[in-house]
Symmetry: none
Subunit: 177 residues, 4 copies
DNA sequence: CATGAATGAGCCTTCATTCAT
DNA sequence: AATGAATGAAGGCTCATTCAT
């Protein structure tokens, strides 16, 4: 059943978020999903498959792709990315999975590749759409933008509103000198 | 001997960087350090102690503290942090350990605390010294600065020089509107 | 399977009897049981569980309980206990497990409690049924009886028949002065 | 120094009594003795030597030998053995060591031999001196006597005085029918 | 699809023992 | 005599993975 697969995935996300990919036993995932341990390996041949699938969901690739596919440009594109990003990682679980995924990327070529893509090609395309060019300066600005977002979710400041933060970093990277 | 302890630490940093804290067997560390497995536990009662010690070295706390202790302000302080930061994490090993440490922080309260400190109190002190105040805007800018640095080291762009990058993000976050 | 559990228990009794609880490696138990080492921990979460279960079988609690539950009194009760006791510990394996259990009781509260019970409450009940009262003298005599049994099994004298021994100690502790 | 040797022996008795021979690490003995771990192995080539020496002190051989060497007979001999025995094992430490020694005897031929001696030859000599003969009945009675003592120290009854107990078991085993 | 018994590799850790100093 | 660093052999235990049912 497709639904069982989802239950496993969801349980795995919880357990992985809490323990990290490598300290999370399949037994625990099975328990939380309410299925037998064996069943996990029916849906996901190896634990690594489960990790890869979850890591790919945890990275921000979907966000960038989605915003790029929309008909928005410049500040609007930044805003789309910014608010989607923060929204996605407002979920503590997602935030932790993001970090675990980055950490695990050194062991998983597949994850590493996705990471590179979002930092390389996609960032370049975003820069092109935001600043109208993809020269060094624009690339740096896009990086600063992403870095700011990452820093925000990694350790969310209590006193600063999401919207305020986004506006501020947009104006930082976008302003005309 | 103090030197043996260092050999173990160094080997552990290599192995941890490559495999992550939880997939790195003590056996491998011992091999690379050229000592017996048992000796690791003579110097570090438990593997967790080794992890904690290495994680504390991998976080950027030392950099911020060092720059804050110097008699520099404003752009100079940013430049100090920026270049120290990038210099520290130019070492691929250090970069990986940084990420693993952040990832492991959810399992290690001690690491978590250090991380919070560098994102909270220290960042605030830095903001105060750089912008002359620690209001929301300044905090956000400092975060943008750190985020940009993190983003740079996480996935270093081939074509952009370190100095150029630092200059650009300094001007981004520091400029007067 | 229940049968596998029994195989493990039986093998463990052999190995524990021979080596004592703490010098008996799980590996050996697995070998003798014809199962993998891991399986032992499927049936008994920790080695201590295995030890506790076996120790509880090795103590004479079952014997006393069984005889007390029967409709016998006075000499008959003594004879019931005596012959069951000697019969149980005629098995060299059981005898050794008894000693190991007493020795291990200082580390295992659960075993210690069972031991206390058989030397305290149960002995008193037995005294009451045998002598019709549980005053000091009767308690002492019951203790002498149990002690004699223990001494017999600890180092069985070659030349003395079981029945002869029991008769003699019964007459010792039971006679009217 | 002879005194250091004694310190080690004494510490070992404490630690062995508490943990049993096989769960007592040399490290702990060294700590309690206030010496280095290495020194233990200078005085006692192997841990087993230490165990053997302590076990031999813990068994009641010395008591029986001592009483037999005195010029006492019959009830007096019983009383000598009884009160020395109870006095020796009133020390909780000695009591535990006695049990651990019996338990360990299956792994240590040397201990096993001492145990056999006190249950065989010495018991026979004692019987001869107490009852004037060493026929089956006398042997059984001596065993009952020792068993009663063992049972007393194994689980000392709160309400019964030492002297009262000894008197009673002496009269039990010694009375003329 | 689903279960859970079964396996075996490997991990962290302990510990008796040795040895250079 | 005395120390404590160093070793190597296990030992208990976990866990991904398989497989008969």
């Amino acid at each position: 059943m497709e639904e069982t697969r989802k239950r496993i995935l969801d349980a795995a996300m919880n357990v992985f978020a809490e323990f990290g990919f490598f300290k999370a036993p399949a037994r625990l995932i099975a328990e939380k999903a309410g299925v037998s341990k064996g069943l996990i390996f029916w849906y996901f041949k190896r634990k690594d498959d489960l990790i890869s699938e979850i890591a790919s969901r945890a990275l921000p690739v979907d966000i960038i792709e989605n915003c790029l596919s929309k008909d928005v440009e410049r500040k609007e594109l930044l805003r789309c990315i910014g608010s989607s990003y923060i929204s996605k990682y407002s979920d503590e679980r997602m935030k932790k999975l993001l970090i675990h995924s980055i950490s695990a990327s050194s062991s998983y070529p597949l994850i590493s590749k996705m990471l590179d893509r979002s930092c390389g090609e996609m960032l370049r395309r975003a820069a092109l759409r935001v600043f109208g060019k993809d020269d060094k300066k624009s690339i740096i600005r896009m990086r600063a933008f992403f870095g700011s977002l990452l820093c925000y979710v990694l350790n969310r400041p209590q006193e600063i509103e999401e919207k305020e933060y986004i506006d501020e970093i947009i104006s930082l990277v976008y302003h005309e000198k």
